[in-house]
Symmetry: C2
Subunit: 221 residues, 2 copies
DNA sequence: AGTCAAATGCAACCATCGTCGCGTTACCAT
DNA sequence: ATGGTAACGCGACGATGGTTGCATTTGACT
């Protein structure tokens, strides 16, 4: 057997110029188009081949299949210039954040790609890794938002910035993709209200001295 | 075309006795087995046919494909006797609730079916409907939990019971299936702490007079 | 019991997906 | 500029999934 451990032959990495780059761009574009058109389950590599002008065999060789194609597109999606809102108050910032999610997923065209990425993560470890990296970066960018609030005295010092951002998004995504309930502004506003109250109470205070699990004794008076 | 709106011909409904019932039971069992073994993406109707002793054609005719098979299994999953914990305090109840989720998804065997259902909802409207019904029922059963807390004066009267239950689950599922971050007891406990603080502050109070969106004026002193 | 139609079994068929061997193109280094 | 080789294009093949027409079983009704 000529089997080699974890494919040392990764095509497209030795000669990253010219055609290879163009191929990559065309493919990423076709993947996004296919995603919004048919969703993840309906996305086929033959569709990508057709709409990118890149041959089917090449796609299988370089990306290994639909999984890899989507994971690669996801990596790209994370390289944007998104920045969190800055309205002057934590309540305003969080509300803007929540409504951003709301608006995105209210528009089918805008929701298609993110939904497809989340769906892909169920079937592909590569997509799951890419998704984790994507959100990690997103929440990292939200840190200034909370730091400003700390500066204004709106929330206790030591509040975990990314935890707050996560807490606002969680209820919305939960309804969207887990319980499959409809989403409206009232839900978003309730999420903001809840997070705000919890944050003020210090529920998102930075991790205690011992980072490993134990009895968090932060609620005792 | 002999097309008929939303299939008035639903086989297996006119003659629900004997063989039909046995077939249905065998199939549901095989679906569950296949789900925990290969996950949703790997579940094929031929696998179900093989492991249930029911012919492939019958499965396609009665369930329409993998989607229907999973949706049917999900309907069944909701018909259990689950009841929320009752520890004597809201904090204890919510903690038990959160750790129940934690334990379920920490065990790969136990997590397989729920994960598969959630994944299926991405690809199938029937599965999505079944999932929504499942969680609706789940959270409805949690109502007594919050009502007891109201009775004890732990949270304000008028607190939306299912909203509290949802709020505890949301951060956990969010990490599990959206951001794909690892889950541990600290996260679960933080979720409980946050929800508790928010609930005490009245963030989950029943909908105000105007249910449509507006400026939530609950935070002004 | 007897009859009819619903529900299932059966086997072959068609479509689509993923893979393989080989020839061609065009980066990159000399 | 020029050769070498990575990367790509091409066509065909095998495998798997889903569909269809017809025979058979079996549950319900008289």
């Amino acid at each position: 057997m000529t089997s080699d451990a974890e494919s040392p032959r990764t095509p497209g990495t030795v000669r990253p110029g010219g055609r290879t780059a163009r191929t990559r761009a065309a493919v990423r574009d076709a993947v996004l188009t296919g995603l919004v058109e048919h969703g993840y389950p309906g996305l086929t590599v033959e569709y990508v081949a057709e709409h990118s002008g890149v041959h089917k065999t090449t796609l299988y060789r370089r990306w290994g299949g639909v999984e890899g194609l989507v994971a690669d597109a996801l990596d790209l999606a994370g390289e944007d210039t998104w920045t969190p809102p800055d309205t002057g108050s934590l309540h305003g910032d969080l509300t803007a954040l929540a409504h951003e999610v709301l608006d995105t997923f209210a528009d089918p065209a805008a929701a298609a790609a993110p939904s497809a990425f989340i769906a892909a993560a169920f079937q592909s470890d590569r997509a799951a890794d890419a998704l984790r990296a994507f959100y990690d970066e997103r929440f990292r960018r939200c840190a200034p938002l909370v730091e400003r609030a700390v500066g204004r005295g709106e929330v206790p010092a030591g509040t975990d910035a990314s935890a707050v951002a996560r807490a606002v998004s969680a209820p919305l995504f939960f309804r969207l993709f887990i319980t499959r309930e409809p989403l409206d502004a009232a839900v978003a506003d309730q999420a903001v209200t809840a997070v705000l109250a919890a944050a003020r109470a210090g529920a998102y205070a930075a991790s205690p001295p011992e980072p490993t699990a134990g009895e968090p004794a932060g609620t005792a008076p």
